[in-house]
């Protein structure tokens, strides 16, 4: 129970004033611009866009600046801003097969058409601090370039699908359920689960995925393909009567190839997990694919071994860091009356208990 109390106004105003000063830090140090955050902290920006569920790099950069680099606070700011905007409609489903890839790798086929393209990856770096970056004003040498072949890179799962070796994806309703418009309701179908996972907290989704690898539910995944790149967003415009491309977004997509499935009537086939996330975010995309696959146990006729990552209520109710933060942090707000009643109760119980002891001693 919360109690309306007065008297904090001046303290709150002064706290906010100090917050603004602390946010700026030492004024002898140059102020960060939104463009600097957008360009040089691009992976933080990507995370805020993904979990804030709004693709707008400048807004995400602003939120990061305002939140003093607290990314969950920045996600909260983006979510709050999003609710003030009208929604014009929904895009046609994005064609990730047409992605212009910065990176595209497969852990299942070495010599796949289009090849293994590493892109701007941290992989193979030695994770040694680079003190050269502490010296400012050193622009890197331009990265090498070679002629690029035309044409889109085919999905690895297409090769398996051609031989019928992987389960085909079932189509679903053209208008999927939307957890930003209706309360999360169980059982959640796969489209709803994918929406919750793609906006879920990266740390939470990572830990859930990790738990399945360590044996809490088994997924045995191969990364069939991981791709990062730019795709066009197309939408039907009612007043025009045709579709146009409204923009371009960077996405990370992960397709996992998982253990066989088969039954008396159906020959064995690989199964799939899927991850698709705003921005360059492969840790999240791989995690999402593993958790997606784990949550599919029922439709794939697997046993529920009671693993947390198989429990859709557990996963979906706890994946959202804004909800989690809101409920967690509300306990720091005044609970004076609640606590007062607890205090009185415990005093009375103690008085009774001590009185009983005293009586027993006297008898």
């Amino acid at each position: 129970m919360y109690v309306a109390v007065k008297g904090g106004e001046r303290a709150i105003d002064n706290a906010h004033a100090w917050l603004a000063e602390e946010r700026r830090g030492d004024t002898g140090v140059a102020e960060l611009s939104i463009a600097q955050i957008r360009e040089q902290l691009a992976l933080s920006v990507a995370r805020v866009m993904a979990e804030g569920s709004l693709y707008d790099p400048d807004l995400a950069a602003l939120a990061i600046k305002q939140a003093r680099g607290d990314l969950i606070e920045a996600v909260f700011l983006i979510r709050a801003y999003r609710t003030t905007l009208p929604r014009f409609g929904a895009s046609n489903p994005i064609e990730t097969a047409a992605m212009v890839c910065d990176r595209r790798i497969s852990a299942t086929f070495k010599d796949l058409p289009g090849g293994q393209i590493l892109g701007p990856t941290f992989d193979y770096t030695h994770r040694l601090l680079d003190f050269a970056l502490a010296a400012e004003g050193l622009d890197p040498a331009p990265a090498p370039q070679v002629a690029a072949p035309d044409g889109a890179l085919p999905h690895v799962t297409d090769f398996l699908a051609r031989e019928d070796l992987i389960q085909p994806e079932a189509d679903g309703p053209a208008t999927p359920r939307d957890l930003t418009r209706e309360p999360l309701d169980f059982p959640a179908d796969r489209p709803l689960r994918l929406q919750a996972l793609t906006r879920g907290d990266e740390g939470f989704v990572l830990s859930m995925a990790y738990s399945t690898q360590r044996g809490y539910g088994r997924t045995h995944p191969f990364v069939g393909e991981l791709r990062i790149g730019t795709v066009a967003v197309e939408m039907e415009i009612p007043e025009l009567g045709f579709a146009i491309e409204l923009g371009e977004v960077v996405l990370t997509e992960c397709e996992t190839v998982n253990q066989f499935m088969g039954s008396k009537t159906e020959p064995p086939q690989f199964t799939r997990g899927y991850g698709l996330v705003f921005g360059q975010s492969e840790r999240k995309a791989i995690s999402m694919a593993l958790v997606d696959r784990s949550l599919r146990w029922e439709e794939l006729g697997e046993d529920n071994v009671g693993a947390p990552a198989q429990d859709q209520e557990f996963v979906l109710y706890h994946a959202d860091n804004v909800q989690a933060t809101g409920f967690l942090e509300h306990i720091k707000l005044p609970h004076y009356v609640d606590f007062q009643s607890e205090l009185e109760l415990i005093r009375r119980l103690r008085a009774e208990a001590l009185g009983d002891q005293a009586r027993e001693a006297a008898e």
Binding site: R82, G115, P144, Q145, H155, P191, A232, E239, G247, L251
Partner: protein, 153 residues
Amino acid sequence: MSVTDPAIIARQARLSTLAKAPAARLCALFAAYASEQPTHALLRAPEIGTVMLRGRAGATGAPFNLGEMTVTRCAVRLASGAVGHGHVQGRDADAARTAALIDALCEDGQVAAIEAAILAPLRAEAAAHKQARATRAAATKVAFFTMVRGDNA
């Protein structure tokens, strides 16, 4: 829906180019093309909103909601009656109005001039940007070679 009318295909391509153009560049090219804005009425004042992006499970399966993207739209009518629609990615009201004006002027018979002054440069710059990334990506393609096995040597 597939479109076969060449006029519509051209408009589709034009609106897509305008939607994806960097806002500042779009406005600068239009300012260089038309020293002042043509007289127009706003059918829809520039409006910032979002579009829900959809993906597909496994890239080919059931659609799901991936998250939203900011979009600004605007509609104008010129004195001649020509109507233009502008949609741009992001939150730039000037860019949305500029896109709508460009669309209206194209509908008003200025297609060839605008193609040369605005659309062709925007397309070329987008292609150059895409190429600059594609060539860097191509340079990171792995060229596997097999080590000679000891027992074969």
